[in-house]
């Protein structure tokens, strides 16, 4: 079974395994669009998926990982990617942060990916024909901002949604990186609560803990060690950032607050508060918005139980 070495994202695994099975019979996969927040494993799953796409030579197809923000136009794409790496080749092309692709390339893809019942498509650009063979070439996309992808183009893609990791999943990901250190359950629980449901944060913390254990020669990591580490590195409860903590403090002191008032008190723009800081507090149920912003009982409890911050 593919993806056995990746933790969590069970519904993603199911879907991708289904498409891999289809690939083994048809040699083609739909155009997949991996959608989810940062650190949920989109790129890792795309790599693993691609590793299962075996070419006619019995080996894994080459995997081209493109940074979409550096693609500036159709001509440049054909010149630098298509001609040298795609034309007549078996390959998987992965566009990371696909919402940053330029409009003219999206328009070209709109035509190219309109395959209906055929596995080949020829696209005419500046009097030259570019042929795509989707039995040889697979195209994957990933984005954190699916709303910024042109809707008709999105319709050509099959969306694979990534969920936040549970605390248990993150605990598993975390523990895999330590073979010679034992973790108390409550220590692991304490650390996992600071990962914000995000595997990338989890991996950052792995490094911190490795340094911490090496410098202090720790073989058994306890809750006290976890608290000590968090205090040393200024890791706040539930992995809150200092700005999020400040927002909660303001709301606790003021009772209710408008967005404008929060912006004035934190020195941040209204957009920055909405886009970067409120979402996590809302998702964790520490604050709510009903016309104005206010702190919930859960938010108050968090602050009361962590007075030292």
């Amino acid at each position: 079974m593919a993806f056995a070495n990746l933790v969590g994202q069970e519904s993603v695994k199911k879907k991708l395994n289904f498409y891999l099975e289809a690939f083994s019979k048809t040699s083609s996969v739909p155009f997949l669009n991996f959608v989810g927040a940062k650190g949920l494993g989109k790129t890792e799953f795309a790599r693993e998926f691609s590793a299962q796409l075996i070419g006619s030579n019995g080996r894994k197809r080459p995997f081209i990982e493109v940074n979409s923000s550096t693609v500036k136009g159709v001509g440049q794409f054909f010149e630098q990617i298509y001609l040298p790496h795609i034309l007549d080749k078996e390959v998987t092309v992965f566009f990371d942060e696909a919402h940053a692709l330029p409009k003219d390339l999206i328009m070209a893809f709109l035509t190219i990916f309109n395959t209906e019942n055929t596995s080949q498509k020829t696209f005419l650009y500046k009097d030259t024909e570019y042929t795509f063979d989707f039995k040889l070439q697979s195209f994957l996309f990933a984005t954190t901002e699916s709303d910024r992808i042109f809707a008709p183009f999105k319709d050509r893609l099959v969306t694979i949604d990534f969920d936040s990791y549970s605390k248990e999943d993150l605990g598993q990901i975390f523990i895999r990186n330590f073979s010679n250190i034992k973790f108390d359950d409550d220590a692991l629980d304490h650390l996992s609560s600071t990962f914000r449901g995000n595997a990338r944060n989890c991996m950052h913390r792995v490094k911190d803990v490795q340094f911490f254990c090496e410098t202090r020669n720790i073989k058994k990591f306890t809750l006290d060690n976890a608290k000590d580490l968090c205090e040393t590195l200024g890791i706040l409860p539930q992995g809150l950032t200092s700005i999020e903590w400040r927002i909660l403090s303001i709301l606790r002191k003021e009772g209710r607050s408008s967005l404008q008032s929060l912006a004035a008190k934190t020195g941040l723009s209204r957009t920055a508060i909405q886009r970067d800081h409120e979402n996590y507090l809302l998702s964790k149920g520490f604050m709510e918005i009903e016309g104005q912003r206010f702190i919930t009982r859960k938010g108050c409890d968090l602050m009361i139980n962590n007075k030292q911050f």
Partner: protein, 68 residues
């Protein structure tokens, strides 16, 4: 050795051959097709004089990608 001092921009010091050639456009197009050339570097001024809007070229910017 040519002791003549190069004056400003243009032809390289000591060069006697002209920088440009006259080729029938049709021959050039045939050659470009035969060789599979997809982009051609042309002088911006010459291009503007053809009444074409000159767009900043992005062909030289490198796409970041890695193959594994």
């Amino acid at each position: 050795m040519n002791e003549e001092i190069k004056r400003g921009r243009g032809r390289p010091k000591g060069s006697t051959a002209p920088n440009t050639l006259d080729i029938p456009a049709e021959d050039l197009v045939t050659l470009i097709r035969e060789k599979g050339i997809t982009t051609v570097k042309v002088a911006r001024t010459w291009f503007s004089e053809l009444d074409k809007p000159v767009e900043p070229s992005n062909m030289d910017e490198k796409i970041e990608f890695k193959i594994s």
